[in-house]
């Protein structure tokens, strides 16, 4: 039995919500001296534990503000948990927001290499994947154009093409399938499904239980920062649908 892809143990994430943002020295010292540096603790995630085995596709369900994106950010390593631990075995391709690593003044071609490097891949490796990326993104005619002149759909297509072409072991999808036109959406769903055969682990955030059922075999529900249910995708989706209808 190989090591699980993601192990989250008793993980909590706390933010300090200060009433005003203090970002200059004068204010900081005045408030420090007068003891007016108030913080309100806000626990975005509380005591979350779960394990994702290699090759599992886990859907993350929850209402707005339930902590879904925070959870993905912690797993992607962007945020450091306040308590507990997160262990990840394998290369992660985070698609929290497609095209986040792009430089607007850089052309599409240059951005492919930059984005690849952001995920830790060499120029040589991206060279091999280059044609595949361009073809999948359908941007052949625009590849020398600076990304700032791309439409948001084009940017998302390029980001998706790069992140999936490098065949990551773990794919984190944060509502990314809602971008692009229907045709591209179908194409990307097909691409993600083809990655399942290679044993890619997927974490998928969505509001649509239909999409989760299409893609995932397991699911979890987050509510106000707590993990309230985990298990088989079908059961969990049914439970989530009941929550939506019941208003709770």
């Amino acid at each position: 039995m190989s090591k699980p892809a993601i192990v989250v143990e008793n993980m909590s994430m706390m933010f300090n919500l200060n009433k005003e943002k203090v970002d200059n020295i004068k204010e900081y010292f005045i408030k420090l001296v007068t003891r007016k540096l108030h913080f309100t603790e806000f626990w975005a995630l509380q005591d979350i534990s779960f394990t994702v085995e290699k090759g599992e596709r886990v859907g993350v369900l929850g209402f707005n503000g339930a902590g879904k994106s925070t959870l993905l950010k912690v797993i992607a390593g962007v945020l450091k948990p306040s308590k507990g631990s997160v262990k990840v075995n394998g290369v992660i391709a985070p698609m929290l927001e497609l095209g986040a690593g792009f430089d607007m003044n850089y052309s599409g071609k240059e951005n492919i290499y930059l984005y690849g490097a952001t995920m830790g891949y060499s120029r040589k490796f991206i060279d091999e994947k280059y044609d595949e990326i361009v073809e999948f993104s359908e941007l052949k005619d625009f590849i020398e154009v600076p990304v700032k002149n791309y439409s948001s759909g084009m940017r998302a297509r390029l980001g998706f093409a790069i992140a999936t072409a490098v065949e990551p072991e773990i794919l984190i999808l944060d509502e990314v399938l809602s971008v692009g036109d229907a045709k591209f959406r179908q194409k990307s769903e097909a691409k993600i499904r083809s990655m399942f055969d290679k044993g890619t682990t997927v974490l998928f955030v969505s509001h649509s239980t239909q999409q989760v059922l299409n893609i995932c075999n397991k699911a979890i529900i987050l509510d106000h920062g707590k993990l309230i249910a985990q298990g088989d995708a079908k059961e969990i989706c049914a439970q989530y649908d009941r929550m939506v209808k019941g208003g709770k």
Binding site: F15, N16, D23, N24, I25, K26, Y28, A76, G77, V78, L79, K80, I92, P94, L96, E97, A100, G101, D103, N105, Y106, E110, Y113, L114, G116, A117, T118, M119, G120, Y121, S122, R123
Partner: protein, 269 residues
């Protein structure tokens, strides 16, 4: 060990960002990379015209005033430009840092390295100056084997810049004021560093004030560099020890501060 392994994994990113910074710096300008040597050339000409009469001339003993000035200016310009860019680098890369895990020190470091590359390119102006004055002037620079030691002050300069850059980039995330404060400080530093004058020429009587001037690591570095390329003599070993120690201390402080605070960066940018 863990850090080295991580660095090794992200070496491509460092390379790509350095490349990007250099490429984008002069993109859309007609003369492009040519500006790296045109800019120091033109500003040096201006400074020579302005200060040459007062601080230059035979009595000053600087051998060749334009070269003296260019050495100082190149070093000063590299230091301020690279530290300023490193300072802003974290905030400028906020969109990436918020979405993807990358070792954050890559950003200040790559900005400094990119600047270092353009600095090395701009050294060709110095080479041109030296060749020109060596052959066509009655004040030729003293070119001796000591010129081979000139990489030493340059590497120390890089070390000091990395240290200061790391400290500033950490501070800037929490207090944006540092940006404006440092801008003012750089203006002060321009006059405190012997770029267009020699400390001896000022005739300062006050020992404390003189010590304060000499505590500036850029003073040691420019003096060492000039010893090698202009005066053709061995540099003062005290300058070497002082600037090297200063560099190591700032890098250590910078690394410790950066590592302690980097997990909080994302909450502030």
């Amino acid at each position: 060990m863990k850090y080295l392994k991580n660095f090794y994994k992200y070496r491509y990113l460092l390379y790509e960002i350095v490349r990007k910074n250099i490429k984008l710096q002069y993109r859309n300008s007609v003369l492009g990379i040519f500006w790296t040597f045109l800019q120091p050339l033109l500003t040096t000409i201006i400074l020579v015209i302005v200060f040459g009469g007062v601080f230059g001339g035979k009595r000053s003993g600087v051998v060749n005033y334009p070269i003296y000035l260019l050495c100082g200016r190149l070093i000063f310009e590299f230091f301020t430009q690279s530290t300023k860019r490193a300072m802003r680098s974290i905030r400028n890369s906020a969109s990436v840092i918020k979405k993807v895990y990358v070792p954050k020190y890559i950003y200040p470091l790559s900005n400094i390295i990119a600047n270092f590359v353009t600095f090395l390119i701009s050294l060709t102006v110095l080479v041109c100056f030296m060749l020109y004055f060596y052959f066509f002037s009655n004040e030729p620079p003293h070119i001796t084997p000591y010129i081979l030691l000139s990489p030493i002050p340059i590497l120390i300069l890089l070390l000091v810049s990395i240290g200061v850059g790391l400290i500033l980039s950490t501070l800037e995330v929490f207090f944006k004021d540092v940006e404006y404060l440092y801008e003012v400080f750089c203006t002060l530093l321009f006059y405190l560093t012997p770029i267009f004058y020699q400390v001896e020429q000022l005739g300062i009587k006050n020992e404390i004030f003189k010590m304060a001037l000499m505590a500036n690591p850029l003073y040691s570095i420019t003096q060492m560099f000039r010893s090698c390329v202009l005066f053709g003599e061995m540099f003062n070993i005290n300058h070497l020890l002082y600037s090297l120690a200063f560099g190591i201390v700032t890098v250590v402080i910078g690394l410790v501060a950066f590592y302690k605070k980097q997990d909080k960066f994302i909450l502030h940018i």
